[in-house]
C-alpha cells in the first residue's frame, strides 16, 4: 500500500514538476589517479573502481568511448556518479545531486532485476504492485458483475473507460 502510494505521490510530482522546484542538479567533479593499473576487463575495472573511488548505487554496464577511455555510471535516486577512466590511469568523477522532484522522479523510474539486494527487492515489490493493478481491476469487474443486478450504468462506464483508453492509445501512436 505504501509502495503504491509512493508511485501516486511521485507521479504527481512528475506531472507538476515546476511546483516542487526547478533547481538543476548540483554537479561536482573530482579528479583522481588509479593506484593500480587499469584492467582490460570491464567487470574487474568496475569492481576495482568501486573500492578505490567509493562509487555507490546501481551500476550500469561499462561503456568504452571512442578515445579509449571507459565510462562507468552509478545511479541511485537523487544521486548519479559518472566516472571517466582514461587509459593512462587518470579518473574524472562527476557527481550530480538531484533536487526533491528529481529524487522522486528517480524513485518512480527505478526498475529492473540488477544492482544488488535492495534493488532486486524493489523490483519484486514493483512486480507485485503491477500484477496487483491487473488482478484488482479484473477481479473488481467480476465482483461488480456478480453483486449487482442492474448493470446498465456499469456497462456504460466500462465501455467509456475502455473506449477512451483505446482511443487515447490509438491517437498517441498513430496521430499525424
Amino acid at each position: 500500500m505504501v509502495f503504491v502510494l509512493m508511485y501516486f505521490v511521485s507521479g504527481y510530482v512528475i506531472l507538476h514538476g515546476k511546483w516542487f522546484g526547478t533547481r538543476p542538479p548540483a554537479k561536482s567533479t573530482r579528479h583522481a589517479r588509479l593506484a593500480t593499473p587499469i584492467s582490460s576487463n570491464p567487470q574487474d575495472l568496475q569492481s576495482g573502481l568501486e573500492a578505490q573511488l567509493g562509487l555507490h548505487g546501481k551500476p550500469q554496464p561499462p561503456r568504452k568511448r571512442k578515445d579509449g577511455s571507459w565510462e562507468l555510471t552509478y545511479s541511485r535516486p537523487g544521486d548519479v556518479q559518472q566516472a571517466i577512466v582514461h587509459p593512462d590511469g587518470r579518473v574524472e568523477v562527476t557527481e550530480s545531486k538531484q533536487n526533491f522532484a528529481g529524487t522522486l522522479n528517480a524513485f518512480h523510474r527505478l526498475h529492473g532485476y540488477s544492482g544488488g539486494g535492495l534493488y532486486v527487492f524493489w523490483a519484486v515489490l514493483y512486480d507485485l504492485a503491477s500484477a496487483s493493478m491487473i488482478v484488482f481491476a479484473l477481479s473488481g469487474i467480476y465482483l461488480w458483475y456478480k453483486i449487482t443486478r442492474r448493470r446498465t450504468l456499469g456497462w456504460a462506464l466500462l465501455a467509456v473507460s475502455f473506449l477512451y483508453a483505446g482511443g487515447t492509445i490509438a491517437y498517441l501512436v498513430y496521430a499525424p
Binding site: 526498475h111 529492473g112 532485476y113 503491477s130 484488482f136 481491476a137 473488481g140 461488480w144 456499469g154 473507460s161
Partner: protein, 63 residues
C-alpha cells in the same frame, strides 16, 4: 453513507479499470526485458532545409 461510498468505489473502479490494466501491463514490461517490447532496430532519418517562420511538411524516409 455506506451505500454511497460503495457506489463510488464500484463505479469509480469500473471507470478506472482500463487504465489500471494498462499501467499494470506496461509496468511489468518496463521491469522485465521482453523481446517484443524492446525498441526496434529500424531508425527513421530525414533532413530538409527549413525557412524560419514558414510552415513545412516532410515525408520520413525509412533506412
Amino acid at each position: 453513507m455506506r451505500k454511497w461510498i460503495l457506489r463510488l468505489h464500484l463505479y469509480g473502479g469500473l471507470l478506472c479499470s482500463s487504465y489500471l490494466v494498462l499501467f499494470g501491463v506496461s509496468s511489468l514490461l518496463f521491469n522485465h526485458r521482453v523481446s517484443f517490447a524492446e525498441p526496434g532496430e529500424q531508425t527513421v532519418s530525414w533532413e530538409r532545409d527549413v525557412t524560419p517562420g514558414a510552415a513545412f511538411t516532410c515525408t520520413p524516409r525509412l533506412s
